[in-house]
């Protein structure tokens, strides 16, 4: 299990941010073309950076906590996953924040509807009591 630590951490990041897509209406996963246009070029640049950094031993990875699967140019599989997962988390955050600020996040509507449905007489009873 220890060799999956890095991947499990990435999986948790995806799991924790997934509600942003639906509860906050981020619509990142549901716009795959735009997602690819954003992550693709960044992924290429940062993959090259990672390969250079590994070759120059700026950093390396503990074998205990990684699968040992190595991609071209000596980049571990986990790093590729990182360069996809973390940007997706950031995009979900950006869109969730935007939808909260302009009130278009589904959760804003749900909360508003709940409030509107509160029976008014009940409230006056509370006040008189």
């Amino acid at each position: 299990m220890d060799d999956l630590q890095y991947l499990i951490l990435m999986g948790l990041c995806l799991l924790v941010t997934l509600p942003l897509e639906f509860v906050f209406g981020a619509r990142v996963w549901r716009r795959p073309g735009r997602l690819l246009a954003a992550v693709g070029p960044m992924l290429v640049l940062f993959y090259v950076w990672d390969a250079v950094a590994i070759a120059r031993t700026h950093w390396w990875f503990d074998e205990r906590y990684t699968t040992g699967i190595v991609l071209p140019a000596g980049v571990p599989l986990e790093e590729l996953v990182f360069f996809v997962v973390i940007p997706v988390c950031a995009l979900l955050t950006l869109e969730a924040v935007r939808n909260l600020l302009d009130g278009s996040a589904p959760i804003v509507g749900w909360l508003r509807r709940d409030r509107d449905e509160t029976p008014v007489p009940e409230r006056t009873t509370e006040v008189s009591a």
Binding site: L9, A37, F83, C89, T93, A96
Partner: protein
Amino acid sequence: MPEYTILAVLAAAAVVIAEVRWLRTGVFRSRPYWIAMGICYFFMIWVNGWLTKLSAPIVLYDPDMKTPWRFPWDIPVEDYVFGFAMLTLVLMLWEHAGRRERVGARAQEPPT
């Protein structure tokens, strides 16, 4: 030479220049961008903190390739600069792609 430190600063500068000179998405003047970056940095501390903790590090760094500063816990300060470059670039490209989609959609509308 602290090569990681130098590369991180160069990358962050390159991303800022790409925005100002070329993409001009306006992220640096947008509230959602700064708020989202703040939230990302908050969560980055936990994820990065786990990856770099010196008690059982997943990622290890050559001390000669970076500054000795780590904060909080054992996170190399360079990682925040790396993170700024990576996240800002992807958010910029997302905004850029969104703008192109909107322009494309408008171009397909029948002329009024």
